[in-house]
Amino acid sequence: MSSPEQWTRPEPGAGPAATAAEPTPEQVIAGLRATTEGGAELTQLLNPEGERLASAHFDPYVSDIDAEALRGLYRDMVLVRRADREGNAMQRQGQLGIWVPLLGQEAAQIGSGRALRPTDMAFPSYREHGVAYTRGVDFKELLGIFRGTDHSGWDFQAHGFHPYTIVIGNQVLNATGYAMGQKFEGKVGDDDGEATIVYFGDGATSQGDVHEGFVWSAVYDAPVVFFCQNNQWAISEPTERQSRLPLYQRARGYGFPGIRVDGNDVLACLAVTRWALDECRHGNGPVLIEAFTYRMDAHTTTDDPTRYRLSDELEVWKHKDPIERVRVHLARTGGADQEFFDQVQADADAFAADLRDFCFNMPDPPPERIFANVYAEPSPVLEAQQREHLAYLAGFAEGGER
């Protein structure tokens, strides 16, 4: 069958019409997926064996990443993973209502997150705890969402990190608008330009809002990097339920660059995201990045992936673990010694213990919080509702149980 490249300009035969269907896209994509390699166009700087691959294009974007910096990225990933595992554990212990694990996606999140500057803005979905960490958001501030004490805790402006968005795709348009604002304010056009990055999953690419974000950003040259973490699954649905083609190729139809990066390679994610942000800073946005990675855990703690995927798949991906390859590289190249690795593990355990302590002691919010901040300017109707409910509660306090 012809390559996708040619589908754009079909060449119908001069004879009779086609008489049988070509191989289905599922079959084609199944072929692609069978490798779980991301295909020939995958950008990689550090392979699963921990070998550094040269890239004339992208090496300049990580020329500052010496052993110390790489140790930093390693540490980030280990801490974030440890905290993520603690999240799972705390959910099992009933301390959190739900947890959304990032296991396996540490490189995509740390690599892209560390590419950002303080003046940039990131719009996460709901799984970007690693990005939150790179933006200086205290991991503890994430817990309220999953414990049910608040919907979002951090100061988005101070951290350049928007609240989590749960409705799939919504944040892509919000980020595009934000990036348009950066441009309208004249903050785009040179090395000091600002940029926006927005995170979403493979499943999200089907939503109308993501498409509209692509349309808007292309029309307004918005400085926005679309960072799609293709973790191969949208809950129980594999990527071929969303697309015939590799997702980075979606950008083709809109006239801006799309690129696939090894989402388990923290160095490549850093380099590619820096490049993409740079394009945006200079007014050449938008850019789509597909980080080819894998959700190594369940969709959330309420999900049971054994119902829909084989453990073989997980085993293959374990060989491509994002942390392990950096450890091997650091060890082989003498960039780090055992003491360092031990120290990072100890730091990670302390980090998790601190989180755990905090979580177990989180107070419940007071009932008046229900009514607070619905509006920025008061609503008399709501105030009356609040008064009435608080009076009702006070009645209990006075009168005891009915």
Binding site: Q207, A234, V374, L382
Partner: protein
């Protein structure tokens, strides 16, 4: 594509089974698919996974991938293609994963699904069912605990129903699928797997009509009207009140649009007092509509105004606060007290 064979292993020996609401829905869907091969099930994760609540569990295995579709992740797509499938003669049953995710599909619902029959002077029927797990009390994150049913009750051309027990779950889903109108089918998600609500479902019985309210407890002091998850709250309240010698009548609305208020009018004419209960915000809602109509129909019978016990007019709060947000037995009884003291 697998042939739609029913595995006989599941076959119950008697026609009566003791079911949860969730299992009753599952069996109801199965029965509808067996009865009519034009019935399709579509939505996110409804196939292999059986839906995040497992309501469609096993259906894809037995009916194949062309009758149980794991769709791409987009609600407008789910509903928009369902409309097209209905135009073609299918009877699609869409699952919206949680009520908070129905909004991307709102336009297809209000602009096409609700209007196609009217616009074509009856030329096109769109027998689409949209199943919506709704309501709170499950300790979830945002967008997973809302009650948006009033929005759909306001849109002409749609029918809106909600079930509150396993018997209704089993029958109402089948009746909704057989109905030639689009039906928004609201399912009380926190009760899906409630063992306490388990009830014997006789699959050989004759069900009540779909678009009819039902008095589920008789009383004489005041009337409570509710639907979906709030019916249980009202029944519990009535039980508690009985200890104080208050006799509360409880009506399960079942149909939210069109409303079947005759039983409510009749009841209010006897009791003189009405409390409507719903988890949804009260402003411009189904409970407003009930109050508006009852004050008109029963003007001279009402001994106190119709009172409403509802969610507050706020977004759904973080789940640690939901016990305050959701109408409970105490709030219902407090309203009864207020009505009696008026």
């Amino acid at each position: 594509m697998a042939a739609p064979v029913r595995s006989t292993a599941d076959q119950p020996t008697s026609s009566v089974q003791n079911l949860t609401i969730g299992k009753a829905l599952n069996l109801g869907l199965r029965a509808a698919m067996e009865a009519d091969d034009k019935v399709l099930v579509l939505g996110e994760d409804v196939g292999k996974l059986g839906g995040v609540f497992r309501i469609t569990d096993g259906l894809q295995k037995d009916f194949g991938e062309q009758r149980v579709l794991d769709t791409p992740l987009a609600e407008s797509g789910i509903i928009g293609t369902a409309v097209g499938l209905a135009v073609r003669g299918f009877r699609p049953v869409c699952e919206i994963q949680f009520e908070g995710f129905i909004f991307p599909g709102f336009d297809q619902i209000s602009s096409q699904l609700a209007k196609l029959h009217y616009r074509t002077q009856g030329g096109i029927k769109v027998p689409v069912v949209i199943r919506v797990p709704y309501g709170g009390g499950i300790g979830a994150v945002e967008h997973h605990s809302e009650s948006p049913e009033s929005l759909f009750a306001h849109i002409a051309g749609l029918k809106v129903v909600s079930c509150a027990n396993p018997v209704d779950a089993y029958w109402m889903i089948q009746q909704a699928i057989r109905c030639d109108d689009p039906v928004l089918f609201f399912e009380p998600k926190r009760l899906y797997h409630s063992g306490a609500l388990k009830a014997p479902v006789d699959t050989a019985a004759e069900p009540d009509p779909l678009f009819a309210s039902r008095t589920v407890r008789q009383g004489s002091t005041a009337t409570l009207v509710a639907y979906g998850p709030s019916v249980k709250v009202c029944l519990d309240a009535a039980t508690a009140a009985a200890e104080d010698d208050l006799s509360l009548e409880v009506i399960d609305l079942r149909t939210l649009s069109p409303l079947d208020l005759e039983p409510v009018f009749e009841s209010v004419r006897r009791t003189g007092r009405l409390i409507t209960v719903s988890e949804a915000p009260s402003e411009s809602s189904i409970t407003s509509e009930i109050a508006a109509r009852v004050q008109q129909e029963c003007f001279y019978s009402l001994e106190s105004p119709v009172l409403r016990v509802t969610g507050f007019d706020t977004p759904y709060p973080p789940s640690k606060l939901e016990e305050h947000y959701l109408p409970d037995l105490d709030r219902v009884l407090h309203a009864v007290d207020r009505a009696l003291a008026w």
